[in-house]
Each structure stands twice: as structure tokens, then as C-alpha cells.
């Protein structure tokens, strides 16, 4: 049985490899004598279940502008996309021409030589229109390796009706959050105030920034996670769970969180604009107005949340670079960004889009735009994405009671020191 599986996997892997090799041929294209683009552009999209239909129709809309170009849309789940792209790009087979790249991945991929530099190509259009924070994540070694498409940060999502019925105010600090949670649990035994993602370190950042900390200081080349602020952040998540103000899971966090929030088992969660479309599909939010958004509750040092988002990058080995550049430009264009805002409430990265009434009138944009302006920028270094894994491990250890917050912060710092050899 087991060997049977291994053999099947091997056969499947071989089959895939040959298929990928065989599939490379149809990518040939470029510009013909009249300057018209042709060929195929394979696009890996990483948007979530609730968003992907919109992205697919937008991506395929490219053929209306360039009838000779065929767009091959592939949805790759966010959790697998990074590894899948590295496998394909490193193995020189099966990599897409264009990929929707998380902001922290750009420097990582670019440092390995997988991305095409975009300066001076047709991919970049009106760079002055880009939000400066969004533009920062596209750079590596002073070159531009991506075009920004979506910018986001995190906020407190809450169930207006539940908080009101429980007699709780919308919390602005962690102390108030615990009070509100206690009221929710008192009103409905078995229900909880907050869902805390225990399995995804990205959700840890808000607590870390709230204590005035950060993972590393990229300018000063210093590791800061094991400072007292890092210890306090680990203490915060432990305290929220131990005091029963929050529930958490060590796996399946996204589904459990969305299910709990959508079905009214918890009243609050931390999340970003990418969760708006999905949350509104839940039973509790049949009336979309019931979904409330507030800034992430402040820690002892103030309020803070990470700046994130999505860029579009072009694979350096693409056989159809011209059409790929054009496609990246199209997907980051003002028109496409306006559509993603109208349909999915995602935040555009172009200043000009915010002046459109349909965008500026969107209540999610009205809330998130100032939040994004205040959001904490992450270090855009190649190891940026790798910084998360040690936190993920220590979060679980702290929440499971295996280590103390002090030791967790120290071990996270030690793991960073192995990764970042020239940091203090």
C-alpha cells in the first residue's frame, strides 16, 4: 500500500514533468510585424475562494484588448503558491509567466534570480501614481521586480449585533477586548469573544507592533524579536487564550476562524480586506451592515498592524516576456483595480483610483485607507517571508504551554540569527 502510493506519486510526478516540458512549446509568441502581441500568458492567481471568480474574469478580459494573446488562468491556493513557484522556477519547468505575488515574496524570488526586472519595460505605467508604501515592496537591490495591485492591512472585524446584545463596546485596547469577550461569554456560555489565529504568524504581527516591537530592524541590521516587546507580544496571545477571551487552533485556523465568525460562535476576529467577501457570505452577515470594522485594539505601546498586499511579478524565464509585461500592466491598471474594489472591497495601489466615486464611497475603503496609511511596513528583505516560520513554531509552543514567552522570544531570535548572518 505505502509503496504503491510512492510509486503512484512517482509516476504522477514523472507525468507532470513530461507534461510541463511538453507544455512549454505553446508559450512562444511576442510581437508580430505589426507590433501586435500574441502567444499564451500563463497567470498564477493566489486569490482566495471568494475572490477567484472575479480575478479569473478580469484576467481573461485581457484577450479583449489583445485578441491574439491567450490567457491561461490557474488558481493556486495561497498556502502552496510560494513553494510551487519555487519548485517550478528552480526546476526550470512549469513556472507561470505572471504570478500574483505576496509582497514579502518579491525580494525572496528576485534574490534567487527568478523574476524579470521591470524598469524600462511596458509593465510599468505611471509609476508616480503608485502609493509609496506599495511601491516599496516591489523593489530589490534598487530595481523594480513587481507592479503593485492590492494593498492591505489588518483590522478588528466584529459582529455588530452580537456586541450590542452582549452590552459590549467595540474595544480599542486589549484590556477592553478582554472585557468585551467576557461579556459575550457571559451572555452566551460556549461562545467566545475573539478568534485568535494560533497557526499563522502573520496574525501575531499586530500584537508585536502593539507592544512597540518588530521582527528585525533592517536598517540597523538588528534582530529585535527577542527584545522585551517581543516577550510581551507572546505574553499577550497567551493571556488572551488562557483568560478565555479568545479561542484558537494550531491547525486549520483560517477555516475554523471564518466558520466561527460567520456562524456567530465568536463575535470578533482580526482580519484583512481579503476576508470581507467571504465573511459577508456567512449567515450572520446576511445583512452586510452587521459586519463592523475597527482598528486593531492597541497594545501597551499603541496600535499597530502590518502592511501587506499583492503584487504582480513576471517570471524571468517566460518565453513570452512582451505579452507578460503587458498583462502585468493590465492587471495593475487603474481600471482593474477599480473593479476589484467594487466587487471585492480590496484596496487599490494607485492614488488615482481612490478619487473614483465608487471607490471613495466604499465603506471598507473609507475605513482601510487611513489604516493602511498608518500600517507598519515590513522589512523588504529576501528573508522577509522566512521570518514567519520560527514565530509559527513558538506561537504554538507558547499557546500549548510548552515554553514560556521569554524562552519563545529568545528562541525566535536565535532562529533569526541563523538566517541573518550579518545581523546583531
Amino acid at each position: 500500500m505505502r509503496r504503491g502510493i510512492a510509486a503512484t506519486a512517482l509516476v504522477a510526478a514523472l507525468g507532470l514533468t513530461t507534461a510541463a516540458c511538453g507544455g512549454g512549446g505553446d508559450n512562444q509568441g511576442g510581437t508580430d510585424s505589426s507590433g501586435e502581441l500574441s502567444g499564451t500568458v500563463t497567470f498564477w492567481d493566489t486569490s482566495n475562494e471568494a475572490e477567484k471568480a472575479t480575478y479569473q474574469s478580469l484576467a481573461e478580459g485581457f484577450t479583449k484588448l489583445h485578441p491574439k494573446v491567450k490567457v491561461k488562468y490557474v488558481n493556486v491556493p495561497f498556502g502552496e503558491a510560494n513553494a510551487k513557484f519555487k519548485n517550478a522556477a528552480g526546476g526550470n519547468s512549469g513556472a507561470p509567466d505572471v504570478m500574483r505575488t505576496e509582497v514579502a515574496w518579491v525580494a525572496d524570488f528576485a534574490s534567487l534570480g527568478y523574476l524579470a526586472p521591470l524598469d524600462g519595460t511596458r509593465a510599468i505605467e505611471n509609476q508616480g501614481d503608485w502609493l509609496p508604501q506599495a511601491a516599496a515592496s516591489t523593489k530589490f537591490d534598487d530595481k523594480t521586480y513587481a507592479v503593485p495591485q492590492v494593498i492591505d492591512t489588518m483590522a478588528l472585524f466584529y459582529n455588530k449585533k452580537m456586541l450590542k446584545d452582549a452590552g459590549a463596546e467595540v474595544p480599542t485596547t486589549l484590556e477592553a477586548l478582554k472585557d468585551a469577550s467576557a461579556k459575550v461569554s457571559k451572555k452566551w456560555p460556549g461562545k467566545s469573544g475573539l478568534y485568535l489565529r494560533g497557526d499563522d504568524p502573520y496574525w501575531f504581527l499586530s500584537f508585536l507592533y502593539g507592544e512597540g516591537g518588530d521582527m528585525v530592524d533592517a536598517k540597523g541590521k538588528k534582530i529585535t524579536i527577542d527584545d522585551p516587546s517581543g516577550v510581551r507580544a507572546y505574553k499577550t496571545i497567551k493571556d488572551l487564550v488562557d483568560s478565555k477571551a479568545a479561542i484558537t487552533d494550531a491547525s486549520d485556523g483560517w477555516n475554523n476562524m471564518q466558520n466561527a465568525f460567520k456562524s456567530g460562535k465568536v463575535a470578533m476576529m482580526l482580519n484583512g480586506p481579503w476576508a470581507i467577501a467571504d465573511s459577508r457570505s456567512g449567515a450572520e452577515f446576511k445583512d452586510p451592515k452587521n459586519l463592523g470594522i475597527a482598528p486593531v485594539p492597541a497594545g501597551s505601546a499603541g496600535q499597530g498592524s502590518p502592511q501587506g498586499g499583492w503584487n504582480l511579478s513576471v517570471y524571468a524565464g517566460s518565453k513570452n516576456l512582451d505579452a507578460s509585461y503587458e498583462f502585468a500592466k493590465y492587471m495593475s491598471s487603474a481600471k482593474v483595480q477599480q473593479t476589484t474594489t467594487e466587487k471585492l472591497s480590496l484596496l487599490p495601489t494607485r492614488l488615482s483610483v481612490y478619487t473614483k466615486p465608487s471607490v471613495s464611497g466604499n465603506e471598507m475603503v473609507q475605513f482601510f485607507k487611513p489604516a493602511v496609511d498608518k500600517a507598519v511596513e515590513r522589512p523588504w528583505i529576501p528573508q522577509g517571508n522566512a521570518l514567519f516560520e520560527p514565530i509559527r513554531l513558538q506561537m504554538a509552543n507558547v499557546l500549548g504551554g510548552k515554553t514560556t514567552p521569554e524562552k519563545a522570544a529568545q528562541e525566535t531570535g536565535d532562529a533569526y540569527r541563523k538566517m541573518l548572518k550579518d545581523y546583531k
Binding site: 500500500m1 505505502r2 509503496r3 504503491g4 502510493i5 510509486a7 512517482l10 513553494a83 519555487k86 522556477a89 528552480g90 526550470n92 525572496d108 534574490s111 534567487l112 534570480g113 527568478y114 494560533g198 497557526d199 479561542i247 484558537t248 487552533d249 494550531a250 491547525s251 486549520d252 475554523n256 466558520n259 466561527a260 460562535k265 517570471y315 524571468a316 524565464g317 517566460s318 518565453k319 529576501p382 528573508q383 517571508n385 522566512a386 516560520e389 513554531l393 513558538q394 506561537m395 504554538a396 509552543n397 499557546l399 500549548g400 510548552k402
Partner: protein, 341 residues
């Protein structure tokens, strides 16, 4: 199922080549005539040509990766310095030979010993539990009872379901908020258990799933073993007034030894490297509580950034060395007891 097929195929191939060679030695000494020689050669050639595809395939899919893995484990290769071709750009390899540095680093790191400790606990408990359960069930089914075929089919069912399907099903059952187990507990008025979120419960859960997956193999092997024990022995024992326990202890267990020795070895090796159960059920979590050696090696070469190929290869070679040592020691121990296989 596939295991047994592949085993018997391998044995048959071996037997044929042995027979081929035996043929020649039997026949050549008598009369070294050209006709005989040609016949012997043709027999020999035939045997080798039958083996050749197997040798070639094993060389390509096992030999080359193995040699390459051992070589990589002696270098500092990672994602950023291996040879890669990106479209028309070719980036040459820049990694260097570092000797035994990686092994030194792995063996002096607590992570390795922690993971090894848990891997041993995991292997021993999984094998012991599934062996015991398999033996009990086989003994129960090795007699004429109503619906015996049905029970046998039902017990083999876990084998018929692809492992990843059953593991995902178990994951749904274990889910702390919406899983069936906690709903049942809640129905009985018992507090919910964090099956996969508490380090200790997660360990219990992964072992339970692996035992569930492993029992059918044990059951089938044990049933076969039980049926090969001559019934006269039991009759004679009964005549002498041996109790049921005495019959089990002195006839069944010794009679099963050739089978049990093999299945325990096989099952230990599989369990030691049982990647899918751990990875799909907990991803090694919570934290690294259920991370066994292979899942950690996977993490090094696919999750960390830049991907640490050399370190992962060193872990792989160490795993192989450990298993080889175990297999040799186990065989010795069995041989001392007088078993031959």
C-alpha cells in the same frame, strides 16, 4: 496490497536468476562442448536480460538520487547557490564541499535528538499497538464464525481507501470546533478535547490514525501466519489438557514468529518514515510536537528560505543510516532465535 505483489515479484525475479546460474554450474562441468556452452550462455544471457530492466530502473530511481543526496550532504548547497536555468539565463552552481560539517551541525543540535526521541516513541507505539490489535483480530477471525467474510472485508477497508483520503477524514473528525468526536463528547457532557491543538493529544491522535491505517496489514499477515500452523498441534495440546492461554502462548506465538518477525521489521521502517499521516494531519504541529525526522527533513528542503538542500540531505542520510542499523540488528536478533528469512 502492492507491497505483497512487489515482494513476490522481486522474489520470483531473484529465484529465476538463481536458477539460471545454477543451471550453468550444473551443466558445464560435465561436458564443455560448444553446444552446451552456448546453451549455458543463452540461459545466462536470458537471466541477465530479465534482470537488466530492474537493475536499470533501480539505478535510475534509487541509485542516482541516493548518490547525489550523499554528495549534497557533504556540501553547503542551498536554493541560492545551486545550478539553475531560468529561461535563457544560466546560473552556475557556486556551492562548496564542506566535508562533514553538516553532520556535525545536525548531531550537535538538540533539534535532531528531540525529533529522534519522538520518532522512536512514535514508531514503537504504532508498531506495538497495530501488531497487538492485528494479532487479536486475526485470532478472533481465524475460526468459523457467522459473517466471517464480512468482518474480514470490513477490517481490510482502511487499506482500500487512499491514505490521504482517510487522513483528511480523520482530521475532520478531530477538529476541535466542528469535529464529530468533540460533538460526541459534548453529548456525553464531557469537555471538548483539543485533539490536534494540544501537544500531548496531538501525539495520541497521530498514533491512533496510524494504528488504524496499519492494522489491516498486520491482520492479513497474521491471518496467513495462523492458517499455516498445523491444526494437529492444537488437537494434541488439547488432549494434554493445555488451557487456551497455554495453547496461544506455546503454539500460536512460536508458530507465528517467521511472519511476525518480517511484518514488524517492515512496519517499523514504514512507520519511522510515515510522512503522509503526520504531514496531512498536523503538519508536524502544534509547534513541532509531532514532527518526525522525515517531516523535519522535508521542512528543511521545502519550507525554510532559502531552501537548505545540504542540511536536508544530511538528515536523509542519517535516517537511512539509522534504519539500516536497525534492520541489521533486528535480523541478527532474529537469527539468534533460530529464524531464517
Amino acid at each position: 496490497m502492492a507491497v505483497e505483489t512487489s515482494q513476490s515479484v522481486a522474489k520470483a525475479a531473484g529465484a529465476r536468476s538463481a536458477r539460471g546460474r545454477g543451471h550453468r554450474t550444473d551443466n558445464t562441468p560435465g561436458s564443455p562442448g560448444p553446444g552446451r556452452l552456448r546453451r549455458a550462455l543463452s540461459t545466462h544471457w536470458y537471466a541477465w536480460s530479465m534482470v537488466a530492466p530492474v537493475v536499470a530502473v533501480i539505478g535510475v530511481i534509487i541509485g542516482y538520487p541516493l548518490v547525489r543526496g550523499v554528495y549534497l550532504s557533504l556540501t553547503d548547497a542551498n536554493e541560492a547557490n545551486v545550478e539553475r536555468t531560468i529561461g535563457i539565463n544560466h546560473i552556475p552552481a557556486t556551492y562548496e564541499f564542506v566535508g562533514l560539517e553538516n553532520y556535525k551541525a545536525v548531531l550537535t543540535d538538540n533539534v535532531f535528538w528531540d525529533r529522534l526521541g519522538w520518532t522512536v516513541v512514535w514508531t514503537v507505539s504504532c508498531v506495538a499497538l497495530s501488531f497487538t490489535l492485528g494479532l487479536v483480530l486475526a485470532t478472533m477471525l481465524n475460526r468459523k464464525i457467522k459473517g466471517r467474510t464480512f468482518y474480514r472485508m470490513a477490517l481490510i477497508l482502511p487499506w482500500a481507501v487512499p491514505a490521504f483520503v482517510s487522513v483528511f477524514t480523520w482530521r475532520l473528525l478531530f477538529n476541535e470546533r466542528s469535529g464529530l468526536f468533540n460533538k460526541l463528547l459534548a453529548g456525553g457532557g464531557i469537555d471538548a478535547i483539543s485533539w490536534l491543538n494540544d501537544p500531548t493529544w496531538a501525539k495520541v491522535s497521530v498514533i491512533a490514525v496510524n494504528v488504524w491505517l496499519g492494522v489491516p496489514f498486520m491482520l492479513v499477515a497474521m491471518l496467513g501466519g495462523l492458517q499455516s500452523i498445523p491444526g494437529e498441534l492444537y488437537e494434541a495440546a488439547e488432549m494434554d489438557g493445555a488451557t487456551a492461554w497455554q495453547r496461544f502462548r506455546h503454539i500460536t506465538l512460536p508458530g507465528l514468529r517467521p511472519v511476525s518477525g518480517t511484518v514488524i521489521l517492515l512496519s517499523s521502517i514504514w512507520t519511522f518514515n510515515m510522512f503522509p499521516v503526520i504531514f496531512l494531519l498536523t503538519r508536524g504541529g502544534p509547534g513541532d510536537a509531532t514532527e518526525i525526522l522525515v517531516t523535519y527533513a522535508y521542512k528543511l528542503s521545502f519550507v525554510v528560505s532559502p531552501r537548505d538542500f545540504a542540511g536536508s540531505a544530511a538528515w536523509g542520510v542519517l535516517i537511512l543510516a539509522l534504519l539500516s542499523l536497525f534492520a541489521v540488528a533486528y535480523r541478527r536478533a532474529l537469527r539468534k532465535q533460530g529464524d531464517m528469512w
